[in-house]
């Protein structure tokens, strides 16, 4: 398939709204809060439009490139948009619009402090996330990856309580240590190949001995796997649930953790490549680690009473599902993994936003206290039910599509063990999500005084829930996620 590279300023322009928006937010401040909120919405809409404007050329097989400045021999600060990057970029920018509306509702309902800092850091975090998606080489990726970590730190410690600050420290400790491994891996890659680019199908083959390549792979996976919450590098994620719900929703279900998984896939498929990985059996090691994480995370989820913590472990599970799908190295499996990135994003963000709405309205955090809540907040819990079904992989929801392809991938690669893993994971998903829905609707609760979530909180929830359903029926709707994933797989396997 011919892939021509087009030089355009659009990638850089797509990054700007969040950066400029952040500066404007900082300048506007709390005094004119409505104007400040307007900047967030305007920036998110602008960003989404700019990224969507790159969809037509990408879908036709082109790559859009923008080089900023040369850093070193062979490395430049460069943005290179391909179909895989578009999946992540489109996902995070669209959900930013939705979560911004939700954030405004959440912050105002709870009359939170330090809102300017919150919106500023959120905007910078999206700058980092989109930059990661559009990065053209490892150096650019690393730069935006670090910006993402640093921008989300004040968001994790937002509450400024001792527990929040502790969570923030843990967050930084894990993620910056991971970054040290990534830096080492970057240096080693440059030393071996003289470049830090990405190429579909990998290019590092024959540049080093087996041992060096295995060490390199391990360094990459430990580094990026910290953000992708592989067990035992996952502990930062449940602790980070102390952050406000919109942070947990967008960042720790979508942007930050998916950035980790996205980068892992970049390493697997665009630096090492399926052939090399099969030869060195490195992917098998990753597959087993991911399977272990999958199952253990789901089991731990069963034991959690705090709703957000349960969802956090569910996220850990789903991230490793993506990693497992990719490490099986079959085309269908990789397609499933790439589809699961956005589809899971929509479903998980619905769940987190529901949790946030419940906290904002009823000040409830634990599932045991949430009996009968469905009667008070029917729409919220209905959305929760839809998203839960999706996570468990029930048709006609989006989760079924990605899980179907993942299972197909396992079959294609003759890996019955991993097929069993996928299916048991789905069973466990149902086990820890459905009881919540059941007790919300069918059990009698105490009679606290609260009602349905305010519109600013409710509409985003409904939108993402509807999309979870829509993508299940029309996976290619609006933002062409299905086509993007298919195209990516074709380029990786040298179509």
């Amino acid at each position: 398939m011919k892939m021509e590279t087009v030089q355009a300023a659009t990638p850089m322009l797509a990054l700007l709204p969040s950066l400029l928006g952040a500066i404007l937010i900082l300048i506007t401040g709390q005094r004119r809060a409505n104007l400040r909120e307007f900047w967030t919405i305007a920036a998110s809409v602008a960003k989404f439009s700019l990224i969507c404007s790159m969809l037509p050329p990408i879908l036709q097989g082109q790559i859009v490139e923008y080089t900023f400045v040369n850093i070193c021999k062979g490395i430049a600060l460069q943005l290179r948009v391909d179909s895989f990057g578009m999946i992540f970029a489109v996902l995070s920018s669209f959900l930013w619009i939705v979560v911004s509306i939700y954030s405004i509702g959440y912050m105002r309902t709870l009359k939170e402090h330090a809102q300017t800092r919150y919106f500023f850091c959120f905007s910078i975090a999206l700058f980092g996330a989109t930059g990661t998606a559009l990065a053209g080489n490892l150096f650019t990726l690393y730069m935006f990856y670090e910006i993402l970590t640093l921008a989300t730190f004040p968001l994790v410690a937002h509450e400024e309580t001792a527990e929040a600050i502790r969570a923030g420290r843990k967050y930084l400790a894990y993620l910056l240590s991971g970054a040290a491994f990534i830096l080492f891996a970057m240096g080693l890659t440059y030393n071996l190949t003289g470049t830090l680019d990405f190429a579909p199908g990998g290019y590092i083959d024959s540049h080093g001995s087996k041992i060096i390549l295995s060490v390199l792979f391990a360094a990459f996976i430990i580094g990026f796997g910290t953000k992708a919450a592989i067990i035992p590098l996952h502990e930062w994620l449940p602790s980070a649930m102390i952050a406000p719900a919109p942070v947990s929703a967008l960042l720790h279900a979508v942007a930050v953790v998916k950035a980790g998984v996205f980068c892992c896939l970049r390493v697997l498929l665009y630096i090492f490549g399926p052939d090399l990985l099969k030869e060195l059996s490195l992917s098998l090691v990753l597959a087993y680690v991911a399977s272990f994480t999958l199952i253990v995370a789901n089991i731990i989820a069963l034991t959690q009473d705090n709703l957000k913590r349960r969802l956090a472990f569910s996220t850990i599970n789903n991230l490793s599902i993506i990693l497992l799908g990719a490490s099986i190295l079959s085309p269908q499996g990789i397609k499933g993994a790439m589809l699961h990135i956005p589809f899971h994003g929509f479903m998980k963000i619905t769940l987190f936003m529901c949790a946030g709405a419940i906290y904002a309205k009823a000040h409830l955090e634990n599932i045991s206290e949430m009996d009968g809540i469905g009667r008070k907040m029917p729409f919220t819990m209905a959305a929760f039910a839809i998203a839960s079904a999706g996570i468990a992989g029930i048709p006609p929801l989006a989760g079924f599509i990605s899980k179907w392809y993942l299972c197909l991938g396992a079959v294609e690669a003759h890996q019955v063990f991993f097929l069993v893993i996928f299916l048991s994971s789905a069973l466990l998903d149902a086990a820890y999500l459905f009881p919540i829905v059941y007790s919300a609707f069918f059990k009698k609760g105490k009679r606290p005084k609260f009602d349905e979530a305010p519109p600013l909180l409710l509409w985003p929830i409904i939108i993402t829930a509807v999309f979870s359903l829509l993508f299940g029926i029309f996976p290619d709707a609006f933002i062409h996620l299905f086509q993007l994933a298919t195209h990516s797989v074709v380029t990786i396997f040298g179509g």
Partner: protein, 501 residues
Amino acid sequence: MVEHLPVLMVVTPLTFSFIVNVAGMWKRWLCFPLVFIPMMACTFFAFAILLKVTTAGEIRYHLGGWPPPWGIEYCIDHFSALVLLGVAVISLLVSIYAYSSFKKEVDGYRSPQLYALFLLQTTGLFGITATADLFNLYVLLEIASFSAYAIIAMGERGADFAAFRYVIFGTIGACAYLLATGYIYILTGSLNMTDVAQRLPRLYSSRALLVGFTFFLLGAGIKMGIFPLHSWLPDAYTLAPSAVSTLLAPLFSKVGGYVIIRIMFTVFDSSFSIDVFPVTDLLGLIGGIGVIVACVMAVAQTDLKRMLCYVIVAEMGYVVIGIASANRLGLTGAILHIINDMFMMACLFAAAGAIFYQMGTKEISRLSCLHRQMPVTSAVFVLGALSVIGVPPLCGFFSKWYLLLGAIKSGQWILIAVLLISSLIYAIIFFRVIEYAYLKRRVNHMRPGKSGQHPFQLDKVPISMLVPMILLALGIIILGIFSGTIVTDIIEFALPSSISG
């Protein structure tokens, strides 16, 4: 005109130091302008020198018209030009910064001697960078050192004793350097660097030469503040007045690093430093241990400025690691780090000085909620901190990158680990301060009410201190973005061609 610039760089502040001494006694208000003018002039000269060197090659100036090796020669190549520019810019910014800072901290801020010593200090630093004569370097080194001893002693209680310790250490170092120069003179009969470099290769097996080389390293090492020769540094730079620390801490140690690289790679050929007398292995060990020890000591500090002093020792360890890699990449990292660290450390020390100016304290634990009272300073501090930790696109990342590449290429895995672990320790020490500044609430500080209104309060620090700080922070960003240009256009030519890789 351009040919005279090397000596003008040194003569201008020297002349003005005498002028300010006299004029200041006549009219007090003349002191500051008479410091500002030569600093501004020298910055222009340094720019002009850099432009000339990058386009036309090195500049050589013979003092008094005497040809070398009988006369003193000043030679500026790419490396010197880069360092010269860094020293000039930072001296200029600190001289502006010092205007108000001295007023607050130094009792004798009215006395013209203070400003004369400031100018003598910069004379020495410029001269060390510009000269190509070994003994002339000693003279200028001593000028810089003695001015340093004096202006450090003008700090707070205990500064005079800290300066005295520095006198002892510094004089030992200077004597070592002088001894080494003596050895070289005896062996070669010349004091001119280029001349000596031509005569030395025949003598590489001489034992006297080995001793001379060791004394060179010892002398420069003390001035640089390499572990374990650094113990004078924390006290001296902590207790000195803020503007003095901001001048000395970034510049003096880096100029010491310049001297070591000059000696190891220009005077002595790189084949000597790497093969004949494999000092690079030893330097790797010393650098690595130094970085880790300094980082750990930094974690233990409760005083902000003292913490930054240990960060300097660690950063000098980085330069040593770069030298120890013994390849082009590592040396590129070392040189790039010299210039980057000047700006990073100046930025951080300037911020610490501003904090001391407004808050009256250097204790980290007393800095809670700093960002409300000093938003600009806190932001500048965060920028400097992120650069030291190594976050792209700030400049600190790029020198770390080259150091890492150099270490990987030479296969020194321990140094790789040292580089990465030290970044994490930096994250610990700087985020501790950032936590206090941004996240901890003061005990008796009311939480903003429902309206969340906190009027934006600019730092109560004079503009003459804020502007240099902000410019230094901008410098960090600009240096980072243009690292590629700096490396390809300047540092590539600064590396001796005898080094491989």
